[in-house]
C-alpha cells in the first residue's frame, strides 16, 4: 500500500531537507573550523572549548540565565496565583479576564520591544508617571531588568491560560468535599491542587526553559542601539547572539557548536526538572 507513504512524503521531504539533514551536518560542522568557502579544518572539541573560555559567551550564558530565572517567580508564580484566584469562587470573571491578560502575547515581539522602548526610555512612560529619571535603557546595570519587565509583561498571560487549562482537571467536588471536611485553603492547595497540577507545572517550566534559552528578539530590540537592529551590548546579549554573530562573522563551526551547547543546556535543564518532579511525586 503506497497511499499513506504518498500522504506523508511531502511532509517528510520538507522535514528531512530543512531539519534532519542540517541537524546531522551541524554536529559534524561543530568539530571543524570553516568559513564557508575555503577548506574546512578538523579542530576536534576546540570550538566548544573556545566558546566556553570566551568572555562574551560566558557573559551571554549569564545573561540568558538571568532572563530565565528572574521572570520565574513573577511570571510563572504570578500566573499560577492569578489562575487560582480565577478558579476559586473569589472571582466570577474568568471569561472576562482571560483574553485581557492573554493579549500581550498577541503583540509581535518586535512591536512589543519597540513599545517598551517608549515605556522605558529616559523621557518615557515609566519615568514620566513616577517623576523619576531611571535610565532603564542607558544604565548598564538596568538593561537586563528592562528586558525582564518586557518578558514578564508578554509571557504572564500565556502561562495564566496554561494554568487555567490545567486547573480544569481539578474536580470541583473534590475541593468541595475537602472544604466540607474542614481542610483549609492552604491544605487544599498543598494536598489536592498541587499534586493534580504537577504535569501542567512541569510543562510550563520546561516550555519556559526552552523559550528562555532561545531568546533573541526581545533583548536585542529593547536594549539594542536606538533605531537600529544593531542588537544588545555584550552585557545584555542573549546566548542566541553567539549563533547569529558567528554566522555573520563567517565562523560556522563556532556557530554550530554554540547551537549545540544551547541544546545541551535545554536538555540538561529539562531532565533535571523531570527528575525533580518525579522525586516530588514519591514523597
Amino acid at each position: 500500500m503506497v497511499a499513506p507513504y504518498l500522504f506523508i512524503a511531502p511532509f517528510l521531504v520538507s522535514f528531512l531537507a530543512f531539519f534532519v539533514l542540517p541537524s546531522g551536518y551541524s554536529v559534524v560542522l561543530s568539530f571543524f573550523r570553516y568559513n564557508g568557502y575555503t577548506v574546512a579544518h578538523w579542530v576536534g572539541l576546540n570550538n566548544y572549548r573556545a566558546l566556553l573560555e570566551s568572555p562574551d559567551f560566558r557573559q551571554a550564558a549569564l545573561n540568558t540565565t538571568f532572563y530565565w530565572l528572574l521572570p520565574l517567580l513573577p511570571m510563572l508564580g504570578g500566573a499560577f496565583a492569578l489562575a487560582l484566584a480565577v478558579r476559586s469562587r473569589l472571582s466570577r470573571g474568568g471569561r472576562f479576564y482571560k483574553p485581557l491578560i492573554f493579549i500581550p502575547q498577541v503583540m509581535a515581539p518586535v512591536a512589543a520591544a519597540l513599545v517598551w522602548r517608549v515605556i522605558l526610555s529616559n523621557a518615557g512612560v515609566l519615568n514620566t508617571v513616577f517623576g523619576r529619571h531611571g535610565g532603564w535603557l542607558t544604565a548598564p546595570a538596568a538593561l537586563k531588568w528592562g528586558v525582564v519587565m518586557l518578558l514578564v509583561w508578554r509571557g504572564l498571560g500565556w502561562y495564566f491560560v496554561v494554568f487555567l487549562a490545567g486547573l480544569t482537571g481539578v474536580p470541583d467536588d473534590l475541593l468541595e468535599a475537602a472544604s466540607v471536611d474542614g481542610a483549609s485553603a492552604f491544605r487544599r492547595l498543598r494536598h489536592i491542587i498541587l499534586p493534580l497540577m504537577r504535569p501542567t507545572i512541569l510543562f510550563a517550566l520546561v516550555i519556559d526553559t526552552i523559550a528562555s534559552l532561545q531568546l533573541f528578539t526581545e533583548p536585542n530590540l529593547l536594549v539594542g542601539g536606538a533605531g537600529t537592529t544593531a542588537g544588545a551590548p555584550p552585557s545584555a546579549a542573549p546566548l542566541m547572539n553567539q549563533v547569529v554573530t558567528n554566522i555573520t562573522g563567517g565562523q560556522f563551526g563556532l556557530a554550530a557548536a554554540a547551537g549545540w551547547l544551547m541544546f545541551l543546556a535545554i536538555g540538561i535543564f529539562s531532565i533535571v526538572q523531570f527528575r525533580l518532579f518525579r522525586e516530588e511525586a514519591r514523597t
Binding site: M1, L29, L114, V125, I247
Partner: protein, 292 residues
C-alpha cells in the same frame, strides 16, 4: 456553583469572604489594566506629534493627529514600509497554506492508515520536537548560500512548513472522524486523494483553522529567521525593517511616534485574528498542556 455560594452566604465570616472577593477582583482588574496599557501607549503614541510624545508619553493625546501614518506610508519611509508589508504577506500566506496542507496530509496518514514504520516515524517526529531549530541555522545558512536561496522569498516560504506540532494536532483531530464516513466515500468510488481532499479536510476544518491561525501569527511575527537569512531590503519582511524604519541617515534621531504607528499597523492583523479566533488562539497555544 450557586448552591455553595448560598451556603457560604449563610455561614459566619461572610464579611471576610466579601473582602477577599473585593481584593481578588481588584488585583485582577489591576493586572488586566497593566496587560492592556502598552497597547494604549502604542495607539496613543501613534496619534501624537513628535513634541507631544516627548512631553506626554503616558497619557491620552491632547491633539490627536494622523500625521504619523501619512509619514509612515510616504517618501523613503513609505517605500520601505509598503515593500516590507507586501513581502510579509507574500511570505506568510503561502507559508501558512503549505503548512496546513503538509500537516493535514501527514496527520491524515498517521490517523487513518496502518502502514509499516508508522509508529517508528511518528515517534521519531515527536522526539525531534526536543531539538530546537536554532541548531540548524548555521548549516542551513551554508546550504542556502550554496543553492543561492539567501535573500529570496523561497527561503522564507519553504523551511519550517513541516511543523510536527501542527501534524500532531491534525492527527489527533482526524482520529475521531468515524471510519464509516471514509469507507462510504470509498465505496462510492472516491480514491485515496479524493477521500482526503473532499471528505477529511472539510470535516477537519476546525483544527486546520487552528493550525492556520497559529502558523500565520508565528510567521508574521518572526524576526530571527529573516534577520539571518535575508539582508536585502527588497525581500525583508516588515518585522526586520520596522525597528530601523524612521531613523535619520545619521542614525541619531529616532522618530518613535512613527515607529509606534508602524507597530500599530503590524499588530492590527494579529489583533483582528485574535479577536475573531480568541478561543482557537488561546487553546491552541496551550494545546500541549491539555493534551499532555
Amino acid at each position: 456553583m450557586t448552591a455553595p455560594a448560598g451556603r457560604r452566604a449563610a455561614a459566619p465570616g461572610h464579611g471576610r469572604w466579601i473582602g477577599a472577593k473585593g481584593a481578588v477582583n481588584a488585583l485582577l482588574v489591576g493586572v488586566a489594566a497593566l496587560a492592556v496599557y502598552p497597547y494604549l501607549v502604542m495607539l496613543f503614541g501613534g496619534l501624537k506629534s513628535s513634541a507631544e510624545l516627548t512631553t506626554n508619553p503616558a497619557g491620552i493625546p491632547a491633539h490627536p493627529t494622523l500625521h504619523n501614518f501619512g509619514d509612515l506610508f510616504s517618501g523613503d519611509t513609505g517605500r520601505v514600509m509598503w515593500r516590507s508589508v507586501l513581502n510579509s504577506v507574500i511570505v506568510t500566506v503561502p507559508y501558512t497554506a503549505l503548512t496546513v496542507v503538509l500537516c493535514g496530509m501527514a496527520g491524515y496518514a498517521f490517523a487513518k492508515y496502518r502502514f509499516r514504520g508508522r509508529n517508528l516515524i511518528f515517534g521519531l517526529l515527536i522526539a525531534s520536537m526536543l531539538v530546537p531549530t536554532e541548531v540548524n541555522i548555521p548549516t542551513l545558512y551554508l546550504l542556502f548560500t550554496k543553492i543561492h536561496w539567501l535573500n529570496t522569498y523561497q527561503v522564507q516560504i519553504f523551511p519550517g512548513t513541516a511543523s510536527v506540532l501542527g501534524m500532531f494536532m491534525a492527527r489527533q483531530y482526524m482520529r475521531d472522524i468515524p471510519d464509516e464516513v471514509l469507507d462510504a466515500a470509498r465505496t462510492d468510488g472516491a480514491g485515496h486523494w479524493r477521500t482526503f481532499w473532499r471528505i477529511t479536510m472539510p470535516m477537519s476544518a476546525p483544527v486546520l483553522g487552528a493550525i492556520a491561525v497559529l502558523t500565520f501569527v508565528t510567521k508574521w511575527s518572526d524576526y530571527l529567521w529573516p534577520t539571518v537569512m535575508v539582508n536585502s531590503p527588497e525581500r525583508q519582511p516588515i518585522m526586520v525593517t520596522l525597528p530601523a524604519l524612521s531613523t535619520s541617515a545619521s542614525g541619531f534621531i529616532v522618530r518613535y511616534e512613527i515607529l509606534l504607528a508602524g507597530c500599530l499597523i503590524v499588530t492590527l492583523p494579529l489583533l483582528l485574528l485574535f479577536l475573531r479566533f480568541q478561543k482557537t488562539v488561546m487553546n491552541g497555544t496551550t494545546a500541549g498542556a491539555v493534551r499532555g
